[in-house]
Point group: D3
Chain length 334, copies 6
Amino acid sequence: MTVTCFGEVLLRLSPSARRLLVQADGVDLAIGGAEANVASALASLGHPVRFAGVVSDNPLGDRALAALRGCGIDTGHVARAPGRMGLYFLEAGSGPRPSAITYDRAGSAFAEAAPESIDFGGALAGARLFHCGGITPALGPKGVALARAAQAAARSLGVPICFDGNYRARLWAAWDNDPAAILRELVDDAAILIGNHRDISLLLGSDFSGDGEGRRREAAEAAFAAFPNLQLIASTARHLVTSNHHRISARVDARTADYQTEEIDVTGIVDRIGTGDAFAAGVLDGWLNGGDLATMAQLGLALAALKHTIPGDMCPVTRAMLDGFGAGASDVRR
Amino acid sequence: MTVTCFGEVLLRLSPSARRLLVQADGVDLAIGGAEANVASALASLGHPVRFAGVVSDNPLGDRALAALRGCGIDTGHVARAPGRMGLYFLEAGSGPRPSAITYDRAGSAFAEAAPESIDFGGALAGARLFHCGGITPALGPKGVALARAAQAAARSLGVPICFDGNYRARLWAAWDNDPAAILRELVDDAAILIGNHRDISLLLGSDFSGDGEGRRREAAEAAFAAFPNLQLIASTARHLVTSNHHRISARVDARTADYQTEEIDVTGIVDRIGTGDAFAAGVLDGWLNGGDLATMAQLGLALAALKHTIPGDMCPVTRAMLDGFGAGASDVRR
Amino acid sequence: MTVTCFGEVLLRLSPSARRLLVQADGVDLAIGGAEANVASALASLGHPVRFAGVVSDNPLGDRALAALRGCGIDTGHVARAPGRMGLYFLEAGSGPRPSAITYDRAGSAFAEAAPESIDFGGALAGARLFHCGGITPALGPKGVALARAAQAAARSLGVPICFDGNYRARLWAAWDNDPAAILRELVDDAAILIGNHRDISLLLGSDFSGDGEGRRREAAEAAFAAFPNLQLIASTARHLVTSNHHRISARVDARTADYQTEEIDVTGIVDRIGTGDAFAAGVLDGWLNGGDLATMAQLGLALAALKHTIPGDMCPVTRAMLDGFGAGASDVRR
Amino acid sequence: MTVTCFGEVLLRLSPSARRLLVQADGVDLAIGGAEANVASALASLGHPVRFAGVVSDNPLGDRALAALRGCGIDTGHVARAPGRMGLYFLEAGSGPRPSAITYDRAGSAFAEAAPESIDFGGALAGARLFHCGGITPALGPKGVALARAAQAAARSLGVPICFDGNYRARLWAAWDNDPAAILRELVDDAAILIGNHRDISLLLGSDFSGDGEGRRREAAEAAFAAFPNLQLIASTARHLVTSNHHRISARVDARTADYQTEEIDVTGIVDRIGTGDAFAAGVLDGWLNGGDLATMAQLGLALAALKHTIPGDMCPVTRAMLDGFGAGASDVRR
Amino acid sequence: MTVTCFGEVLLRLSPSARRLLVQADGVDLAIGGAEANVASALASLGHPVRFAGVVSDNPLGDRALAALRGCGIDTGHVARAPGRMGLYFLEAGSGPRPSAITYDRAGSAFAEAAPESIDFGGALAGARLFHCGGITPALGPKGVALARAAQAAARSLGVPICFDGNYRARLWAAWDNDPAAILRELVDDAAILIGNHRDISLLLGSDFSGDGEGRRREAAEAAFAAFPNLQLIASTARHLVTSNHHRISARVDARTADYQTEEIDVTGIVDRIGTGDAFAAGVLDGWLNGGDLATMAQLGLALAALKHTIPGDMCPVTRAMLDGFGAGASDVRR
Amino acid sequence: MTVTCFGEVLLRLSPSARRLLVQADGVDLAIGGAEANVASALASLGHPVRFAGVVSDNPLGDRALAALRGCGIDTGHVARAPGRMGLYFLEAGSGPRPSAITYDRAGSAFAEAAPESIDFGGALAGARLFHCGGITPALGPKGVALARAAQAAARSLGVPICFDGNYRARLWAAWDNDPAAILRELVDDAAILIGNHRDISLLLGSDFSGDGEGRRREAAEAAFAAFPNLQLIASTARHLVTSNHHRISARVDARTADYQTEEIDVTGIVDRIGTGDAFAAGVLDGWLNGGDLATMAQLGLALAALKHTIPGDMCPVTRAMLDGFGAGASDVRR
């Protein structure tokens, strides 16, 4: 059954071979955006996926649609509108140098879209899950309206909502707002929350900081208390060794149970962007297939780990690649 | 003696090998903008050139400055400001397919700049010529204010002004204005106008259309009558055979004389963008060196022709290359 | 209403910058195949398009599907099967050097497929047109069976058939057969034939060679006489000046009328492959929109001409690009 | 004195920058094949090397020959034949993602070749060593015949045979055979076997699995007992940390002595393919120069380690690079 | 029977996509040199070819050798020596912009080589033809000594000499010499001279300038009179339309007969470098196969024309490509 | 206040993707040279920087100047002269394979320049610091004269000198000289020395080898004793783990104090070239801003570490990137 994803689609432009922008005579072009990345991962794993959104009615919008379609995503409910595509420029780091993003997404056709320009009802018809998140409302009052309209449509059709926190401080800081209040209202609709104790701290105005698993369970329990519709919270923890080497673990909290994976080393990082979205998609893959907490956490961790090794924002990992993860050997598959 | 150029600097992104954007996984990055292109050409020919303007205080602005400096342009009077760089996407055509530009320049740091953010006095100190044109005022009321402030500074310092018409209908159509009135006021300051009979028709509200040289002289004389400061008008005529093959000629009109070149074939076109700016630079190179009308027209034509064969917006043609133009032979120079 | 296309999807591998294979350290990868190219063109023009076929159940098959989907083609009826993808290697020519193709398509998953592995009924449900052609039966007895099964399904569902002759002598020569007999049977089902007087000569065992339009009309009339279901015959004539410069014209014959375009020059050729498929798509675009013979011929000619300027086999020309063709000017579209 | 190598030459196609095939718009092209790789390494180290085999009589075969010749290999005894070149597609892994190979080698001109199409006598005239291995017989009954004919020629000319096990389960599984019986017959001719305890287990139908050096010596002794012509067995052990980081050691067993190196870390892996062939070549380099067991093992280990850092299948390591290995410092050589 | 070629091998570095060096962040690397180019063409056509010369004993020399070997040239008589490889930088022109070469070849290992460092006797053993030319003596007194030693060896072994004039004014101007005297002595050994009426004017101190065929025959006859060993003179005439479009014709003069081809258009020029060497090779191919004057001239013209369409200095045109030239059609070869 | 740097500018040519030169069909082009690299780093950090030197009066010299200018370096005092640019070829290593440099810099326009060809007085006017080093005198007697003239000018203008040892044994070995004597004379002028205990051992003819910090302090004290003008000595220590992983520390010695940093791991090395120059620039950045020993050492270490992750010789690290170093986190900066 279909998963419907909703959000902004972005063009990413990044110099190759770890060049800085100031050195670049060319840039690789990729298509991304948090919800599009989740959509790409679920579609690559074989789930029917529909995307809702707005892209520019120009060749850049055509390019974005081609990327979504290439993954097998149904783009029949992506509206076209005048205006610009949101862009971002990525300088990929290495070793002691962090990756750096220069955003150029303000005023995009998506950010300026009116809720009625998108046929949410059609996009959600017969869907088993609706995936959205915290970037859309961060774009401004129009983004809040879009997010509310999308979730209202899902609620009225009885489609469960997965909300990915994706807190972007810089976007919220660009206009006058109360992010916690806005996000609380949106999370209140969600059955699944992708977010860690920092996201929950922000939502609830409490401080759940600290490293231990106990602290994370406390945060989860507070969120379950605050949001009665919420059934599942999924999150990763990430320790940065260098730009090419991270350590990540995953956990999934339900109301009465939880599962925390071991921390694994992810070395040889090719592209860190979209790894959180791959995690969300892995968890949702488990959920859609009726997996238990451990399965969801491990699928999320595996998909996130694999995404670190693949260029681009999207996650074209197939079921076979995912099944092969962590089988112990990593020699050439012939 | 120094030439000061003023205008917006743009980043250009274009797929290689004549791909369309919808097919592109990467784009070449070049720096351009009409006045920056003129600056690059004059600096490459050995003139001291200063650029005035505003670029973003981010890595894209750094990239733009690096390109200007790489040509030998003094960027000490380019201000940095928050905001985005104007961009455009180019799909290079071939044969029967025209090149196509998708602009994404609205709301740039330059277009939003206040006149006082630029030290026009410093940029113009001791300059022998000030080059600007009709794109800046087309950007909106703030652009008009920038253009007026720049020209006012030149007037007050007694620096002659070269104004390149560069009429961009789409930009003027995007806000409420009377382009002819705005441009007339600006052209009224100019000693040199780069523009053809169509530009003059627009400025004067008359119709000088038609193919003959006589018609062009009529237009020039009308312009000289309307603009008492104007000493020189330079223009090209272009006939399009295919996207890879144009025919161009040049003319320069003074108040009491004119010169019209033969039409030449330009084949093997690699990059048509910036060829008009190269023409302007060739004319100004002649003017700066005290050349007569024929010299100015022929240098303009030669530089324009050569620019068609060089990738990018800018014009890195050296004096030796320019001197070698049209020597009859085009075999390998060993 | 949906157009259903059926045929083999091929991977194309070609050195860039006019290199020969013997010089190549890398090759560009594109997806093609005659019917896939037609599908790409129709989808890019906005028609709903479904593809039927078989691609390998490996990453190369994934790549092929991604390309079809990227154009907006519905691939829900493309079966996956063990076996190889058909490949071909292209050395693009220039000037006096012709382009050269090295085929490596024998024994592909498609060529080995059994008719029952494809759900032709589903692929054709509700379709307004079925597009197929002469390459599939040329692949061998299994290909003949596939072609027959496909057309039988279209007949039984009352979907009109467009058959593109696409005679490939080398494929027919590789096994024991009577191509004319096989093709006659298949063309007998068709309402539309893409093919010129040479194709008709082959089908009917007559000789309609010769240069004039009269000869072509004679051939068409003979075909209409031989194939009572046939309503329309569309063809191009191509004169080769050099590898970068062809002259092409188009004609469409109906039973009682015909239309022949002027011959136009196509210079600056970037990629000649797939231009015949683009022609077919242009004719079908006119047919689907109820255009008259002249419209069909001119759309076919325009789409073919534009395709020569775009890299790859597929034809990602949008409606706006097609509408802009031949408007007289080919200067940069800003 | 000349070394003659015999086997299939393959074209390898792989996306750059760790892309997956589904993301690729181009692939790097390299030439390989186990025995060709050994030949390339020995030739690069300065040994006269002759290659025997069959490549296609098309541009891909030309490309393969150009690569062999470029290394300095004498290709005068490589036959040309109609038919396809064997191909394989490589997706290079990183960190937790293993590299993956998609083979497309069935039905190649080599696999279909008759023994009499190759002048083994000429290729082996005056040779000091004949290198072949277990992939050729795995290709099918024709491959077995080729392998037998090649070894018969070497036997009759008194040229010692080095046989590299190179067991490829997928190839053997594709047709009806008894691999152990076929390989036993071939290994029985060999003076040198490249293969570890797993290869020997397969050959002898015994189980020598286990990690210790003792176990490996037991396997070697069993092989020496079973194959009276065998004088030397060389093998590596590889522990996989990640796709970019392996640990490898080498050992060489003679009838009455053996040598086992330390395990070394190989990090920064650029290309794992062909490293086993580089190992074999290093051992043979030692053998050809009359080195002792330790020298052979250390040269094999060094060449294998260096090959991990070089793109492509072949091993263009020069004598100077090999001599410099492990000198302790790895700073820039100026 | 073997052809032995002798001369300097150069590395060529050139920006791609018609960029200027001042714009380049990378350069394509190719191997060339007039005599190496002839060798590559003859070897690609299937002639056994041996190269004599000196290349650096560093990785650049390895690269040069790999290129020669890749064409199938026997490099067993190329000496290695300390010192640098000669380089040149090429900026490929387009349309009205000529290609430009920046030489950096002074002081190369070849230019500094002593005659005794090359085993001319071995290189020439059993050869049917020796090909050399006028660049080697232009390098300086050491170059003259090399050229003399090489020709002396050929004379003493009775190997006919083909001498390609290849007059390079800049090289001769760099040291104190009398080029006509030096070249006369060398041409006096030759059976075949590649050179036109301008070369002969220089050699003989007469002026044979002028456009007509008659003038060229006069020049040839004067050369035959001056050089009693000379049997054949081959030359091209080239008219430059643009950098991408030349017109060329060929002629071959014998003592009592001559043959002049039609002038043909060569459009779509990809790489003009090495086209004169390809012409020489085509003539020699005819000569080696016992062709008449017309055959030699037409093969030379065909190979030269084809070379214009292939990147690099060398000429990898196969017999099949050469045979296909001018068959009238230039459509895709499938 | 301005820093003036003086030295040779080199072109670097290196295959991408860790290829060897023997495998390369193209090379990346970068501009470097020890003092140019320091200049690039200081200019990128915002210091006014002037460069003095000589580059070729050809397109390669234009390219070099464009790179210097692109960083914001004032090249008004770089002379142009006939002759070649110094080049070097870099094969970047990985893991166990060291990077390798093939120099081709002999006889460059710089190495042949007469001191009077450079206006040192103008280049140093008003400068706060003069940076030069030990490569210029290593080029030969003319280089020694250049170095002496440059330092004499600085002395006479009272500009403090920073001298970077940069001992290149291969250059000194190429001609007859006493490096220690020549360098002692030059270092005697310096206020700042970039060099470690090995450099000091060479200068003083003593042996300060050994690993401990004490030994390094001893060396520094001996240098302070020998060179009364010397105020500061800065050096790094580098331990090589693999080609991609180094450990580095930095120290700065003053006459009465010193500071030694911790050793840090630098992994994910992209380009090791120019990292010593980046260190020098970091130290000088601290010195120019009046920082204490710890600040100088830490800035040097940080800039060196970051440079390892950036392609090319130059160091385009901005103030913001430098400030962000070592802040603990290395996740994506959004």
